[in-house]
């Protein structure tokens, strides 16, 4: 069953003439983990805002088409009802931290307070969420005394704790170190396996290839490609769009031209590259 259903979405921000989203159609199934890729300016963040109800409720502007989550249309719903089902982690964690709380623990509890969760349940949910993203040791720090990557984990945790049915993440690992990135992907993958539907904008191709079910590529406000990670992430159309492809893919493509790559398909991950190249350098 499609949990998220976007039908013919065209959207213009206020005071602008050109639409940022030009006829987007998109279905995401229950429990699916989907990555959205594409060059800067393709409309990826706007698409996140649209699924999360910020477009048009918060940003105003002109939207045609329909957005349905769990069978409810966003335009027939208010933002405060919408956020119970859909959680959004912003691209810039600095914009998301409330500024109203002194500690990381309280910051993460903020959303739960607002929907009137009982105190005991609130405490156990906050503790559990912090454990999942590996930030239990930051509980008593001020959200503003943290490094960029740590703040980003706090911002992500404060959405996870709400246990939304649909989780929308706008580059959730952009400020994280490589191993932090892997940990977050593992945590999110776990949430998806437990039935959460996840839509994630991400530039880190290698991790997308490892974890997601389906990749959607955007350019100029339109879907240009859609399919499995293998199909989309090795496409020359994606590379030409200005979106970076994995170093494994580009080195294999070059090697192919030099007669040093024998397979028809190109690798995205380390394992696939090792597999293909070890046939070339076989002992």
């Amino acid at each position: 069953m499609a949990v998220v259903n976007l039908h013919n979405i065209i959207y213009k921000y206020p005071l602008t003439n050109t639409p940022v989203l030009k006829n987007i159609n998109l279905q995401v199934e229950d429990g699916e983990f989907v990555a959205i890729v594409g060059p800067n300016g393709a409309g990826k963040s706007t698409l996140c805002y649209t699924i999360a109800g910020f477009v048009p409720h918060f940003f105003k502007g002109e939207m045609t088409g329909t957005v349905e989550v769990l069978g409810i249309e966003s335009q027939n719903s208010s933002l405060h009802e919408w956020v119970l089902n859909v959680g959004l982690a912003f691209q810039n964690p600095f914009n998301q931290i409330s500024g109203a709380k002194y500690t990381v623990f309280e910051e993460i509890a903020f959303g739960l307070e607002n929907i009137g969760i009982p105190r005991d349940e609130m405490i156990s949910r906050v503790e559990e969420a912090m454990k999942l993203t590996g930030i239990s040791d930051l509980a008593d720090r001020s959200p503003y005394s943290l490094s960029g990557g740590q703040q980003q984990r706090v911002a992500l945790t404060s959405i996870l704790v709400m246990q939304p049915k649909v989780l929308v993440l706008d580059e959730p690992t952009s400020q994280m170190d490589p191993i932090g990135t892997r940990e977050v992907f593992v945590a999110i993958h776990k949430m998806a396996e437990q039935g959460m539907t996840v839509i994630m904008v991400e530039h880190k191709v290698e991790w997308i290839a490892h974890f997601v079910d389906r990749v959607i590529a955007l350019k100029d406000g339109q879907v240009i490609l859609e399919g499995t990670p293998d199909e989309v992430l090795t496409s020359s159309l994606l590379e030409e769009s200005g979106f970076g492809i994995s170093r494994y893919t580009s080195v294999a493509r070059k090697a192919q031209q030099m007669g040093l790559w024998h397979s028809d398909s190109l690798p995205i991950t380390l394992e696939e590259a090792v597999d293909g190249f070890s046939k070339v350098v076989a002992k």
Binding site: L146, S174, A255, V281
Partner: protein, 272 residues
């Protein structure tokens, strides 16, 4: 302009000791990348270069000046610092005014300011966006405005704090070009980055920090080949370095060209 850091310790008022005895020298015109896990002290370290932070103990010298005895304003003539988050440093009504703000504050004459602004706008490919309000630009371009507004100060030392965060391939190539141009002009460029492939492709020297200390410091290939030590500060070697290692290449490779050269050699050995 030489940077000398001697036994630098720094504790935040909360008691967290972010830097625990850092000693290093960066020569004039070097291109250095600083890597390491979140919270390793990377940003804290570079904030000492222009006296935004002062050592709790130890010293930092910039071209002989002890940062403790200089004002931030005076050091701004020697060290330009581009913040991690561009929104922390942008405030003017349009891009051109933003980029002119720094050189105007240095009390340079009008023509000189104009020349520096044009140069920075060209280098960052912002010439056609000069009339735009920085906040009407996408985060990608706001980052370029932040870069331009520091480059226009024409300092001998330029520090970038995670310049490639959230940027696509085209934009990363643009930033790599800016760094290359600065290198050709003999500037010292220090860049904090988590993008280890970007680091491998654009820097000659890498410093890895871990828990407020220098873990590794040396030539890029030497540092990035030490995968076990790097793992302790949550850094993975570059993709092609890892691939080369798995294929049994004897030398550390860090970019496409190096990889393909070794691959060709390994293959011909096999054929003969």
């Amino acid at each position: 302009m030489k940077i000398e850091i001697r036994d630098l310790h720094f504790s935040y008022p909360t008691g967290v000791e972010a830097l625990q005895g850092i000693t290093l020298t960066i020569e004039s015109g070097e291109q250095v990348a600083i890597v390491g896990q979140n919270g390793a002290g990377k940003t804290t370290l570079v904030k000492h270069l222009n006296a935004l932070l002062l050592p709790t103990s130890g010293e930092v010298r910039i071209g002989g000046w002890d940062t403790k005895s200089q004002s931030v304003a005076k050091l701004a003539r020697r060290v330009g610092y581009v913040f991690q988050n561009p929104d922390e440093q942008l405030f003017s009504k349009n891009v051109e005014a933003e980029v002119a703000f720094g050189p105007n504050n240095l009390k340079l004459d009008k023509e000189q300011v104009q020349r520096l602004v044009e140069d920075a706008l060209t280098m960052t490919e912002l010439s056609d966006k000069r009339e735009t309000n920085p906040y009407d630009l996408s985060p990608t371009w706001r980052k370029m405005v932040a870069l331009a507004s520091v480059i226009s100060m024409d300092t001998d030392i330029v520090v970038f704090d995670e310049p490639t965060t959230g940027q696509d391939a085209m934009s990363i190539a643009r930033i790599a070009n800016v760094i290359k141009t600065l290198r050709q002009r003999g500037k010292t460029v220090i860049t904090i980055t988590h993008d280890i492939d970007f680091c491998a492709e654009n820097f000659e020297r890498v410093i890895a920090l871990s828990q407020g200390k220098v873990l590794l410091d040396g030539k890029t290939n030497d540092v990035l080949g030490q995968d076990e030590i790097l793992a302790t500060t949550y850094v993975d070697p570059p993709q092609l370095t890892r691939l080369g290692k798995r294929l049994g290449f004897k030398n550390t490779v860090r970019n496409q060209e190096e990889f393909l050269t070794v691959l060709k050699k390994e293959k011909s050995t096999y054929l003969s």
